[in-house]
């Protein structure tokens, strides 16, 4: 399986063309709101398409781009009805329909002989369904963005030490250091480690909530989505 795109990671959450595309599209939503939606959902949509439709990296990227472009053209986001489903579910189902239509259209062209046959990517059988992967990527993206927010906020508030301790503990892969070890490493009392972690987690939580608030319609959907985010 070819490697996933870096889009959505490393701080570049979606291609800059998406922003200009958003700005150029007349819709009922503000450019900021669309920006928030695409920032969170680009990567989950891309991963979902890759797994569900066995697409290669570039094909999945094109389909993802195509989906958001079509969604903007057709006022997809403004037709969302929060009484019927969460925005996340609405969007995933729309992606599924869109990709299936694209697949059917490509097959029609194939029969005409003017298009290459689509190759199914040699992907390892995933342990999770594409729908589960979509949700997991959505959670991952939310936390990635919230951590970016937290880092920026720490710098603005001169709380880099708090962020460093949080990073050393909560973002550690594998075994986590003890509070005593962190206290010794950073030259602060152990109680400060507890307080710094509490502060950073509190802020991270509020940034996740803020990001969620931007892509949900009302407090009830926000509450339900938060419940899906917190384990």
């Amino acid at each position: 399986m070819d490697a996933d795109t870096a889009i959505g990671g490393h701080g570049d959450h979606f291609p800059s063309t998406q922003l200009s595309l958003l700005e150029a599209t007349a819709s009922g939503l503000s450019s900021d709101a669309l920006d928030r939606v695409i920032t969170i959902y680009w990567k989950p949509v891309y991963r979902f398409i890759r797994l569900k439709f066995h697409k290669k990296n570039e094909d999945a990227k094109d389909l993802t781009q195509g989906f958001f472009a079509t969604a903007l053209e057709r006022d997809f986001f403004t037709r969302f009805d929060p009484d019927k489903a969460s925005f996340r579910t609405y969007l995933r189902m729309a992606v599924e329909r869109f990709a299936a239509n694209q697949y059917a259209a490509a097959n029609r062209q194939k029969r005409g002989g003017d298009t290459e046959f689509e190759t199914v990517g040699e992907q390892a059988v995933p342990t999770e369904s594409p729908e589960q992967v979509f949700e997991r990527e959505w959670q991952r993206q939310l936390f990635c963005l919230a951590l970016d927010d937290l880092r920026a906020h720490s710098e603005r508030c001169s709380k880099q030490l708090e962020f460093q301790i949080f990073q050393a503990y909560d973002l550690a892969e594998g075994e986590r250091p003890s509070y005593a070890e962190l206290a010794s490493q950073y030259g602060v009392p152990e109680t400060s480690v507890t307080n710094y972690l509490a502060w950073a987690r509190r802020m991270m939580r509020s940034f996740v909530m803020e990001r969620l608030r931007g892509t949900t319609a009302g407090w009830r959907e926000l509450r339900d989505e938060m419940r899906r985010v917190w384990s």
Partner: protein, 275 residues
């Protein structure tokens, strides 16, 4: 920033934990999830006792104030309410030691005990209704049976939530009659098999799809159950003649035995005199 699965899971877990810094409580662990938030076991450091701490997801209308206004033996008392440093509202309440209703039934209690439970639940709901409060989400998971047999109705709703299909009334707008529907569903849930037909009929009436066909208020439902317990006819069930006779015999067993003994004695005396 890239996050691996294990770090993501860790962040999801720690972000959900309530921030109790600056409060008198020390977190022990999660004990349940209700309609509006998560309930944790915590230790009150000042009074050195364990409490249940409900942390609300968001900040809707004051659930704590609503419950605190209900002083009833079957409604968990609220000790304190406040806001956590992370902005979430919480309230501390008595930590109930016991079993959830659905777990309690695994011990196969008697019919009389099952009816006692529905009575206690009904009394709490009737009391709340008299104060203008409806529960909205009555179900076995929201009822606790304490270690001394006391019954607690938990998770009083302030906002209509999805509810549990088997216990939720079909109407969109929930009111007191919706609680009566849920009480009927609870009664049906509590009854053993085979179910006495009179009790099944009471549950069915309480669970009528049309709210107007249900009992008009909780005391009317409880009165029906009481009539059953006293061996009287219930309004919900048009009783067959044979059942009425059997119930009459059951209620007047002593009288019937005395009558039979008297008749037998008279017959015996008559027989002895003749021969």
């Amino acid at each position: 920033m890239e996050l691996g699965d294990s770090v993501l899971d860790h962040l999801r877990r720690v972000a959900a934990l309530p921030d109790l810094s600056g409060t008198r409580y020390e977190l022990e662990g999660e004990i349940g999830r209700g309609g509006m938030g998560i309930v944790y076991a915590a230790r009150d450091r000042v009074l050195n006792r364990r409490v249940a701490l409900k942390v609300l997801d968001l900040t809707p209308a004051g659930e704590a104030q609503l419950i605190a206004a209900l002083e009833h033996p079957a409604i968990v008392p609220v000790y304190e309410a406040g806001t956590l440093p992370d902005g979430r509202e919480f309230y501390a309440m008595k930590l109930i030691r016991g079993a959830r209703l659905d777990h309690y039934l695994a011990a196969q209690p008697t019919l009389a005990e099952r009816l006692r439970l529905i009575w206690r639940i009904g009394e709490a709901v009737a009391y709340a209704h008299s104060h203008g409060v409806i529960h909205r989400d009555l179900k076995p998971q929201n009822v606790m049976v304490g270690e001394f047999g006391e019954v607690y109705v938990m998770d009083w709703g302030v906002e209509a939530i999805a509810g549990t299909p088997a216990f939720r009334a079909p109407e969109v707008l929930l009111d007191q009659r919706s609680d009566i529907y849920a009480l009927g569903a609870l009664l049906r849930f509590l009854l053993p098999k085979p179910t006495p037909p009179a009790l099944a009929a009471i549950a069915d009436k309480a669970m009528s799809a049309d709210p107007a066909a249900r009992y008009p208020e909780v005391p009317a439902l409880l009165a029906e159950i009481e009539r059953f317990e006293q061996g009287m006819a219930v309004e919900a069930w048009p009783e067959p003649l044979w059942h009425r006779l059997r119930r009459f015999a059951s209620r007047n067993a002593v009288l019937l035995w005395l009558l039979a003994a008297y008749t037998f004695a008279k017959f015996l005396i008559f027989f002895l005199r003749k021969f």
